[in-house]
Structure formats: C-alpha cells, structure tokens
Amino acid sequence: MNVVEIENVTKTFGSVKAVDELSLNVPKGCIYGFIGPNGSGKTTTLRMIMNIFYPDSGTIRTFGEEMKGTSTDRIGYLPEERGMYKKMKVRDLLQFYGELKSGRKVDKDVDYWLERLELSDWGNKKIETLSKGMGQKVQFISTIVAKPELIILDEPFTGLDPVNVEVIKDAVLDLRSNGSTVIFSTHDMNVAEKMCDFIFMIFKGQKVLDGTLDSIQEKYGSDTLRIRTEGGRSTLDNLEGVDKITDFGKLQELRIQPGFDHQKTLKEIMSRTQVYSFELATPTLYDIFLRIAGPEAKEQAHA
C-alpha cells in the first residue's frame, strides 16, 4: 500500500515552475530520501504533501485520500527552518505540539524522547537558551512525539554534529521499524545511501531519479574503476576511454566510457605505474548527483 501517491503534480510560483508534472509513490513502512540541489523543488513537494501548498494541477493522495480540506493529524512534519516559540519551555512546547496533533496527553512520550535524545536536563529551559543542535533535536521530537504514521523531515540533519546525526538516524530507523513511513530530504548523499530504502531525486522541478539505490546504480552500470597506485593522480592523464577522473588523494575514481573495455584501461595504468588495488564498482550516489546536477551536466547542456 502506498502512503503517498503523487500524480502529475505541477506547482508554479509566478513565472517559476517549482514542480513540473511530478509523479511518485511512497510505499508504507519505508524510508524515502528526497535529494536534489537547492531550489530544485524538494521543499515545495514536501509542503504539498503536507497540504500547506495546493498543487496547481495533478493530485496528491495520502493514506489513499486526497487531502484538500482534511486533517493532517497522521503526518508529522519537520520544516527546513525551525519553527518554535522562543519563550516557551522545552517540555511545554513539546506537550503543546504533541497535544495539538494527537489530541491526547503526551507527557510520557515527551519524557521518553527527551531522555533518549539526552535533553532531560533541558526540559524546563526556554527554547531561546538552546544551541542550534539542541533546538534541532527538540524540533525533531516535536515532529514525532504524537506518533504520526507518516513522518516528513525536511533537512533533519542540518546543524547536527556527527554524534547527534547518529542519534537522529537511530531514532528514524526505530520509527520505521515501528511501522512509520519516513520521507526526508537531505544534501548528505552518504546518509541517503545508508538509510533510504528508496531515493528520489528532483532537479529543476522534474523527477530525475526514483527507485532503490541498487536499481539507480544499476541504471548507470559498473562504469567506475576505483584504483590505488604508486604514482597517484599524475600517472592517470590521457587514458583512452576514460571520461572523468575524480581524485580522492590516495584513491582515484575513473569513469569508463560506455562500451569501452575497462581491462584495456587497467593494462595501460599497470604499464605506467605499480597498482596496489583496484575495484570495478557502480557509481556512488554522490557521483550520480553530480552527473545530473553538477558542472559537468551544465557543460553538457550547453554543448
């Protein structure tokens, strides 16, 4: 069963088409990652799912129903920019947001989450006294404290240190295990690769990727030669059949042209320098992202 079904949705702001003929299905119980460059339409799509914006055309169904004018109580939403009353105390704010959505007392849930995210000592402090990271965690709790079935997180890891990123990641994975469906947008390809069951990429308002990581990578094929050599980057110039070299210092990634025999490339490198290790791999999500939205894509578009 799909929790969210988006069909041919278009949303325009003035002369800018923020979302263009978008269709997408989010199955129940999965983690769906939205990626895309800034201004590509991620937040607009999330807001339309939340019913904060109405699409100009097309339909959005959540839990099988079109939501115009109906309640969004089954959805928890963490917006990109934090929205909290600065003068309220942490515990009061979480109870308020939780009760507003669930219609029941959420005191125990608030205590549980405050403890889990190591914020118990801050329960009686005002929001304005929190650091950015703490504020982010409080906002995250406010999103999930009412136990919504669908959780939408717009950039949930922004402003968090690696320890807190792990804490939130664990919490998200637990929520999924308990039956919630999670949609989140992120610029961190590493996180998206590791956490998401499905990845959706939007670029200039249009869907450019949608599927599991494997299916996406499969589409691009095993065209990446990851190699460690004695000579390093300087020995890899002017190789036949290589489209692009990405240098990671001790390691280089070579993108082999479609149809070109990678064995030939490897032989050529071995003739130039000593090879310590090599691996024929699928491109990373980061690489795929850059292929679609990076400078290389722009050059191709201009060509």
Binding site: R47, M50, I52, F53, G69, T72, D73, I75, G76, Y77, P79, E81, R82, G83, M84, Y85, K86, K87, M88, F96, Y97, E99, L100, K101, G103, S142
Partner: protein
C-alpha cells in the same frame, strides 16, 4: 474545536503567564489616567512663599478693603489649624502712591522689581471703578505679574473687588445692607438628571443631582477602559502573527491546524486576555467604588453592553490585526500596518469629546452607527447621562455583529494565504485579491 481550544489555551497562557502582563495590568490605568492622577496628587504641592503685591489705587477706596480682606484670608487659610504647618502663601499687599506725572516710569520700575523677584505682582485700580462710564481706561483694574492669566491672586481679587464695589453702589442708592445681601445672593444652576417612573412602586422618582463625575467620568472611564483592553488583547496579535510567520512556527502549526482554526485561536486567545483584564478592572473598580461609598455611580445598566461591545470589538479588530500580521514579513511591515489596523480604535479617540458632550446629536448618532466605530462610541453615548433612544444600541449591535462576521470571513481568507506567503511587503491590492479570490 479541540485543536482550536488547545491553541487558545496556549495563546492565553503565553500572554497572561508573564510578568509583563501583570505589570501592564497595573501600569495601563496609571498611564491612561496618569495626568489626572498626577494633577490630583500634586494638588497640594503649592508654593507657600509669601506673595507681595503692590497696589496703585487711583480710586482711593479699594486698597484698604483689599488689605483688610488679605489679612482675614491670611489668618484663616495660610496655616493648617491642626498641625500649624504653612499650607498656603500669605498675600502681602502694600499700598503705593500712584505717580501721576510719569505713570509709565512707575510701571517699569515695579515690573523690574517683579523680574528681580522682590515682588509677585502689582495691581492698578482705575479712578472711576465705582462709577464706570465713558472712558474705559479710567475704570480698568490691571493685574501685572509674570503669569497673570493663570494667577490665583487675580481670581481672588476678582471675587472680592466686584462684590465690594456693588455693595457701595447699592448703598449709594439708599438700599439697606440687609436688602443688599439679598440682591447680591448668587444662585448656582444645578445640573440635574431626568425624572423617572419607579417600575416597582409606580411613583415618580425624584431626579438626581448629577455631578461632573457622573456626567463625564463614567462614560470616559468606560471608553478608555475599552481602548486599554483592545490594546491589551488585540493589539499584540499583529506582532505575534508576524513573528509566528517569520519564525516558521506557522508552518509547523499548519501541519496540525487549519488556517481558520489558527486565526480563531489567536483572536479568541486575545479576547480571553482582554476579558481577564476587563474582569479585574470592572470588579476592582466596583469594589473600590463600594468602599468609598460611590456605588451609585456604577453604571450597572451599561456594563452588559460594555462587555457585549468589548467582545465584538476585540473579535473585529483582532481579526483585522491577525490578517494584517499574516501579510507581514518583518517588524517594519508590522509597524507600517499598525495605524490602519488600529483605526477603528484611534478614530473614536479623536471624536470622543463632541460625542460625549452631545451624545444625541446627529454627528454622534451617525458615527456610532458606523460599525467600525460602534463599540467604542455607542458605549460612551449609552453611559452619558440622559441616555440615548433604546433602539440605537440594539441596531448598532446587529450592525456590528454582521460586520464582525464579514470581517472575520475576510480576515480568515487573507490569513489563509498570507501566513504562508513569503517575500515582499504587504500590499492592499494583494490582500483584497487574497480575500475575494483566494
């Protein structure tokens, strides 16, 4: 409904659970009635330094009387009888011979003495004050001082010189002193209320003597109380809505609340804040009046009207403010919209005096029937002594009720769009578009 109630609770508690609210509750009446209270408190703060006044009496009959009257006044009023403390300045008059040859030089010399602080004033009495005729300059009385127009001594002199001269004139006509007293008796015109029929006994009730307090104080207090309560409950809505929008709280709330619930929560939360203030002031005021034995002055017949119009005023103005707040993107926008949004409250402030003095005039009647101004102006008219035709507050009420429904509808539609619209200052044309086209 549950959500709206929960949001109202937050809005209400966020407003009243602050020290600022308690301070405002105390300070508001102090600030509003500040000048009156200051005048009352400073009434006793008079300069008790003796006032020396030189008399140039060209008539030759007045100066002696003034000296005697001043002596009596000083004996009676300068010192507190119980404490012996000096509470008033003594009036010390001295006679001087008018300089017939060069009166201007004498005036200049006396004026210079006043400037130096040696004298408080000098008084010139014309030669013909007893029988004033022909040349006006011969029967003038001139009081020269630094601030002669608002000088208490001038008033005191006015009150003793004229009766004195009249008595001499009467005496010259051969009228006996006892008769003269009768002739001189001044009878004040009393301000009275209207005679009414007692509903229980059927008897005609005597008209009550109306004091200035009843005529002016009661309507003015109710009027300013309503103004204060609007400032307390509705005014903050513009700022707080703008903040909720700019701090993205609105975006989170819209995940749980519909726009109309959001706006209703804000307006009704503000209303509860105002009603809390109203209860404190009305109950406190009634208790205070009871303690000082002025229960008669409490306008019980107006209080239900006051609360009815207050509720409608807050909902009406609050909806306008919340809608305007939703269209703002920064504090400057909110500042620019404050005056237009508060116009229904400010305009009655400009016209309250003519409405109070002539509550049944066509001007007052028509203005109070204009729904934006009805709550504040109708209450002042209703509380004014003499009252207004019974149908007028009812018609006003129906008008305001309908208009408030309309304003809430328009405000709700502006709010729905505005609260999520980022960028660009609020434009009237946009708001009209949002209101009628969505």
């Amino acid at each position: 409904m549950r959500k709206t109630l929960r949001f109202i609770k937050r809005e209400y508690l966020a407003a009243v659970k602050t020290k600022g609210f308690i301070i405002m509750l105390i300070l508001m009446p102090v600030l509003m009635g500040g000048s009156g209270i200051a005048m009352y408190l400073l009434q006793g703060q008079v300069d008790t330094k003796d006032k020396r006044v030189v008399i140039l009496d060209r008539s030759g009959i007045v100066a002696e009387m003034i000296l005697k009257a001043a002596e009596e006044r000083n004996a009676a009023a300068v010192f507190d009888k119980e404490t012996g403390k000096k509470i008033q300045p003594a009036y010390v008059f001295e006679k001087a011979t008018p300089d017939a040859a060069d009166p201007q030089a004498q005036r200049l010399e006396l004026s210079d003495r006043i400037r130096k602080g040696e004298l408080h004033a000098f008084l010139e009495i014309g030669p013909n004050v007893l029988h004033p005729k022909d040349d006006q300059s011969t029967f003038q009385i001139k009081y020269h001082a630094k601030n002669a127009a608002i000088d208490n001594i001038r008033n005191w002199l006015n009150n003793i010189i004229n009766p004195f001269l009249r008595r001499i004139r009467l005496s010259e006509e051969g009228i006996a002193e006892s008769k003269a007293n009768e002739i001189m008796t001044w009878i004040q015109v009393d301000a009275m209320g209207l005679v009414s029929l007692d509903q229980e006994t059927g008897a005609i009730k005597e008209a009550r003597k109306t004091g200035e307090a009843e005529a002016i104080l009661v309507p003015v207090v109710l009027f300013f109380l309503m103004f204060m309560l609007v400032m307390m409950g509705a005014m903050p809505l513009l700022q707080s809505t703008m903040e909720e929008k700019t701090q993205r709280i609105a975006e989170v709330l819209m995940g749980s609340l519909k726009p109309h619930q959001f706006m209703a929560g804000k307006v009704l939360g503000g209303l509860l804040v105002s009603l809390t203030g109203a209860l404190v002031y009305v109950a406190g005021g009634a208790f205070f009046m009871g303690r000082i034995g002025l229960t008669d002055l409490i306008p019980f017949h107006v209080i239900p009207w006051f609360f009815t119009f207050l509720i409608l005023e807050i909902v009406m103005v609050g909806s306008i403010l919340a809608a305007f707040g939703s269209a703002c993107n920064d504090p400057k926008d909110a500042q620019n919209l404050t005056f237009p949004a508060m116009f229904p409250v400010f305009f009655p402030m400009f016209v309250f005096m003519p409405v109070l003095t002539e509550p049944t005039s066509a001007f007052a009647t028509w203005l109070s029937m204009f729904p934006l101004f009805t709550p504040m102006l109708m209450i002042i008219r209703k509380a004014a002594p003499g009252g207004i035709p019974a149908w007028q507050p009812w018609v006003g009420l129906v008008e305001v009720l309908l208009f408030t429904v309309f304003i809430v509808w328009v405000g709700g539609r502006i709010f729905r769009v505005g609260i999520l619209m980022q960028g660009g200052p609020p434009k009237l044309s946009n708001m009209i578009k949002w209101a009628f086209r969505g």
